[in-house]
Amino acid sequence: MKRERHDLVIIGGGPAGLAAAIAAKKAGCTDLVIIERDRILGGILNQCIHDGFGLHTFKEALSGPEYAERFIDEVYQMNIQVIERAIVLDLSKDKVLRISLEGEIKEIEAKAVILAMGCRERTRGALSIPGHRPAGIYTAGMVQNLVNLENIMPGKNICILGSGDIGLIMARRMTLEGAHVKAVFEVLPYSSGLQRNIRQCLDDYNIPLYLSTTVVDINGPKGRLEGVTVASVDDKRNPIHGTEKYVECDTLLLSVGLIPENELSREADVLIDDITQGAVVDDACMTGIPGIFACGNVLHVHDLVDFVSKEAAKAGANAAKYITGQLPISQHEVTVKPGNEVRYVVPQKIKYGKDISLAFRVSVPSRNRLIRVVSDGKLIREEKKLRLHPAEMVWVKLGNIDTSDIDTLEVSVE
């Protein structure tokens, strides 16, 4: 089999892969290649034709394709090699990749690899919703693709299960395209999407959001969805008998969570965090396998693409350093732990102590709280937050810290 050698291979040409590639090149890596499975670069941004991207990075409200274009232009200006319509079949921990593309299967041996494969949507199968399995049940992202890129309309009377951001965006989108979006149902007592999306996508269009409510039965005996039965749930998310209501609809969109796509990472023996479902990484975005880095939604699901780009740039710069031996592997590592009301913290380990940013999500919504970062029992940072919500990531910048005499960092909400 044909084998090529490259310093850096970036798996995925979405927002994470693009920003990582640009940063790696700027940091001095000249032999790098992006492997993209789609026909064009940009990843999921290509189907996100709504605005609101880039508010942090460019101080502008761009559409997804516009945001992507700025990075894609830079990638081409910098002459970074891109292989489109190619999929990575296997990845070994020795950083050998087997790649399949039209007319060819080849191997690439890399000095460093950046995982930037993004995430996928949870499906109906994973939810075990009882009932029929008719046509008319789609994940919200798939419908976003069909409507925005393929000019295909899935249905006219729509219910949405789950208040994740894509579901909210699609509630507005389908309304604008003439569909009747009857309601959004969310099993949790609070929304899973950003507040701004609740306002701009539901409230502005009088689409009701029913919290603590889920779909308990699907009716479609003749092949196409005819309606769903919804019910209120108790605090353990069990449906409450007697609260069932039947809602006629021909389409059910699911926006019930995103799962980082770590199939390749697992093949390469990368340790996966049970909570994030992404790799366990250090403050250089490096996984437990030397030379394999991870960033973006494959590492943990982000709320805003701006943060993906930022994190990926860090991964790219560090990968470039690793290749030239400027990222010495330190023997000492600090374990970062989630404390009270914190679901997870990324990175899970700190080894270098330079320009540290901790990203985390809280487990419940709350107001007027203190975020505390404690190192071996000693408070090293305290920040006030007016509002904390599981749908929104929280970032704490620690800057440079001396890691030599500490063993743990704990982030908690008090």
Partner: protein, 501 residues
Amino acid sequence: MNNLNYDVVIIGGGVVGNAIARGLSRYELSVAVVEKEPDVGLETSCRNSGVLHSGIQYKAGTLRAKLAVRGNEIMGPICSELKVKMNRIGKLTTAFYDDDLAGIDRLMAQGIANGVPGLKVLNNDEMQKIQPGAEGIRSVWSPSSGIISPYALTIAFAENACTNGTKYFLNTKVTSMTKNPSGIFSIVTNKGQFKSKIVINSAGLSSGNISSMLGVYNGNHGESLKIWPCRGEYYVVDKRLNGYVKTLLYQVVGVKSAGIGVHLTPTVDGNILIGPTATYISVEGPEDYKVTSDKLADLRSEGRKLLPTIEMRDFIRNFAGNRPKRTTPDEGGTADFVIEEANNVSGFINLVGIESPGLTASPAIAEMVRDIVAQHIELEEKKNFIAERAGFAGHFCDLQPEEQERLVKENPEYGEVFCRCEKITKKEIRDAIENNLGARTLVSIKYRARSGMGRCQGGFCTPRIIRMLRDEYGFQPEEYLLRESGSHLFCGNVREGDAKQ
């Protein structure tokens, strides 16, 4: 419509109807298969555990015993001719209590009487070598048991029959039948009237109704031919746990042991099935494939008991299949197959109550039906019968890297992966779309190519397949079907114009 005169009309394109069609396609006969759905095998044939039974568990002397043993015996060469994945992983039927050891002896005696090859009684040490961690005190080991892809077999029979001249009429529903005084059958369908010398009723869940169209309500021995649909629900478990279940694990029917209940069945593609449950459903809706919250909860807890490493995220899909039973809900249990030419309607061959082991028995049933047909029409072998299907069993991703590399050079579309989870290539999708039956639903493609059967459940490949059907096969949004007639996926374009790029 054109000339719809045939020597033989087969009603129902399930695994049995297709096996019969393929068997008859060896001879100089004109044969039509009429199937009410947009593809073959959409009912019971593709909604089951995919087990190749040895024939051990059926009462000696029954058709089920005889045909399962014979079907099992000839399945090997058939699978290699037709490129169907099959794996004889064997089966342990286990006694867990001393009180049930008599059941082991009974089962052995029955298996030997049925002519099942290779049977052995194993103690727990010997069981451990086959399935590490196996519990129970003694087992009957039947090495000819195995697993088979039910879709691959059903479709392969049909496509090979079609290659050899059998005509398939999909979306064609029989509404009434008469036998003319001249001895010719008239079969009225929504697509026109067929005429034939022989009618074969292999309509599965509808076989009772089809039989009653000719006034045949009872079998030749007076037994009722009414079908009582009995639903079995299943979970599909993620491939992450591939390899944990090495063989088929059943309990012996005994004093304390529960008998054949919910169990784990590995599939030829590396998933594990948990199921089936058994619930009789309304005879008015034999094709209602609902899953229910109670049964799903039972399956999850049973699954966890049998395979403790299962996590919630491993349940990637659920489904249901309905058994065409002849036993009433009050009777329970299983009646024997009815396979016979109706005493009072010469030329009408009835196959009623073909539930398990119908998949295993299907090629043996085909032999039996061929012999009945031969009593009416002299069978002359075709000189140009094509027994082999082209290609390879299973999928591109199952092949060795060298073979993959060779095929990609030969056909570049093997290099383009359409289904990320199962690594199914564009060439395989194209082959599925271009099947000779003309079946083009999304499920037709899924059952042939395996696209969408992985953990993302079509999230990645579905838009790609939809685009390909539009750009390369001219599909309009209204034409896409998920599965059965009526399962329209889309209502139209978002706006006028063409999104083709």
